[in-house]
């Protein structure tokens, strides 16, 4: 039977909402599921992890500096825990932090990482997207010494709440932490809006918005719909919105129930981020725009007239 270590990524005392999805992927693999929390003081986060259905145990590794999640500091601790615990699988959420530290873990363990698992066939066989999701590769990973993988969050539902909380155990790991890398600061965008990656509805704007002032009509529609806000790369590159709003192959991969692409042409790199959206609505003045090939509802016309009208009538 497999023994699976899930890395319990967190920020500001909150377990990342993706971990419930990683646990569900772990359940599909099958086995004993342990969540490891690396933090300055992991007690709050550990309690959240312990409440997830399927988790057998939560391990807490407290160490000053762990909250910063510097890859070169976190990776050796994960490697030590994997080896001492005899884990068959190490899983992390495919967030920017998971993508940062997990390959470092894989290299230290001498294994190839399976990036972005989107489906589990067995304990060793998985699907992953390649070419911006335009092809799906099924891989078979060697079981020995272990399997190291990131989970594509848009492909999994969250596990539910456990009937009874899992036990929490404080442990220490035997790892050498280098001092060559220092966390300086995080400039986080504070927003009252639903988080892009977990929002049920998302409204995204593209280059056509033309300025950050004009982007307000996107925010305004989003607020009416209680939606998160995203953007194309062109809108981010042009400085209309910050980088963390980019949706696509090299931005965020999302799976909302309802997605609005407004003034976005539908380049394959953008589509890579919204393939799992349940319903896509596109508003574009060009009837030939590629976005209409994937949209469930298309509306041709000037966004500056249509979006305010939509906001009024929705």
């Amino acid at each position: 039977m497999s023994k699976i270590l899930v890395i319990g990524q967190h920020a500001d005392g909150k377990l990342n909402s993706g971990i419930a999805k990683v646990v569900n992927a772990a359940k599909a693999i099958g086995g004993d599921i342990h969540v490891a929390v690396f933090a300055n003081d992991g007690s709050t986060v550990a309690a959240q992890a312990a409440a997830l259905d399927g988790v057998a145990k939560v391990l807490v590794v407290d160490r000053a500096g762990n909250d910063d999640y510097v890859a070169s500091a976190i990776a050796p601790q994960i490697v030590a825990l994997t080896q001492s615990g005899g884990y068959s699988h190490v899983l992390a959420a495919g967030t920017t932090s998971g993508k940062d530290f997990l390959p470092r873990v894989a290299a230290k363990l001498g294994v190839q990482q399976v990036s972005d698992i989107m489906a589990v066939h067995s304990a060793t066989s998985f699907d992953r997207p390649i070419y911006a999701g335009n092809a799906i590769l099924t891989v078979e990973a060697p079981a020995s010494p272990c399997i190291v993988a990131t989970i594509r969050l848009a492909s999994f539902q969250a596990t539910g709440a456990a009937a009874a909380a899992a036990p929490i155990e404080k442990i220490s790991v035997d790892a050498v932490i280098p001092s060559h890398t220092r966390f300086v600061k995080l400039e986080a965008q504070k927003s009252e809006r639903p988080e892009l990656q977990s929002a049920n509805r998302v409204v995204s704007g593209g280059r056509a918005l033309g300025s950050s002032e004009n982007f307000n009509i996107i925010y305004s529609l989003a607020d009416k719909l209680k939606a998160g806000v995203g953007a194309s790369r062109a809108a981010v590159d042009s400085g209309y919105v910050p980088n963390d709003m980019q949706v696509g192959q090299t931005g965020k991969i999302i799976a909302p129930e309802l997605y609005f692409a407004i003034g976005i042409s539908g380049a394959i790199q953008h589509l890579a981020g919204i393939k799992d959206a349940r319903t896509i609505v596109a508003i574009n003045k060009d009837p030939e725009a590629p976005i209409f090939e994937v949209a469930d509802y298309g509306l041709v016309g000037d966004l500056f007239a249509l979006v305010p009208e939509l906001e009024a009538k929705a």
Binding site: T95, A132, N134, T138, P142, T181, Y297, L299, L310
Partner: protein, 248 residues
């Protein structure tokens, strides 16, 4: 200070990928290839640092078959001084690529290594981090700003929450994000000059690398297709449709 820049040959980002009917992979023959866009950004960053006097030499490196020479020529046209071609004929996976790249980095005595944050074909996004792990060196991934001063690198990184800043002592590894810079257009004289620059060819064995056990490709398939939806004529029609489905 020497810098290494890795460049990978990939199918051009404008190409519509076709999965082979027998599921053995995607069609690569006769398809336009280019330098991985993130690697052009890596090259550009190194060249700008050299122009500012922060670097003395830029070495481009690739791991791949004979056709990757074109990729190295592009890197040389950008401004690499010379190149190393780790020639492999068989398929290699990120850990093996990382072992080869780490060996070249060590052999060259470089202090900075720029890689792309991901290659747009395999989208694995792991090679740079693996190189850093193998060399026990610092890493700063997804860089959107890099400053090199006094034996230190200060790097702004694009992360899910916003922008993070890390500082590390050189030597170290940096992987590039899209907004780090806008690569220059190559001019004909630079392309001509690049033809004369030296490329050293080495094998994995010369670097003391044996290919790591890999993932086995079972099959490559098309993603589920989204069916084309309906075109609505008015906002009213759209709102009615979305309300009927309970979406708004």
């Amino acid at each position: 200070m020497k810098a290494l820049v890795s460049v990978k040959r990939v199918i051009d980002y404008n190409v519509r990928i076709q999965v082979k009917p027998d599921g053995s992979g995607v069609v690569v023959d006769g398809v336009k290839h280019s330098v991985n866009p993130f690697d052009e950004i890596a090259m550009e960053e190194a060249v700008r640092l050299k122009e500012k006097g922060k670097l003395t030499e830029i070495i481009a490196v690739t791991v791949g078959g004979a056709k990757c020479e074109e990729t190295l020529r592009t890197a040389l046209a950008f401004g690499a001084d010379r190149a190393v071609h780790v020639k492999v004929d068989e398929e290699i996976q990120p850990l093996t690529a990382a072992q080869a790249l780490a060996a070249v980095f060590k052999k060259e005595g470089a202090e900075l290594f720029f890689l792309g944050k991901q290659a747009i074909d395999d989208d694995a996004a792991q090679t740079g981090q693996m190189v850093a792990a193998l060399l026990d060196l610092p890493q700063a991934t997804f860089a959107s700003k890099v400053e090199i001063d006094g034996g230190k690198a200060t790097v702004t990184r694009e992360v899910d929450a916003g922008l993070e800043t890390l500082e590390f002592d050189l030597p170290g590894i940096i992987t590039t994000d899209l907004r780090l810079n806008e690569p220059r257009y190559l001019k004909l004289p630079d392309i001509m000059k690049a033809k004369k620059k030296p490329i050293e060819v080495v094998g994995l064995g010369d670097l003391g690398v044996t290919a790591a056990a890999g993932l086995k490709s079972v099959k490559t398939a098309n993603p589920p297709k989204r069916s084309k939806g309906v075109m609505v004529k008015t906002v009213d029609e759209l709102v009615t449709a979305l309300k009927a489905k309970g979406l708004i």
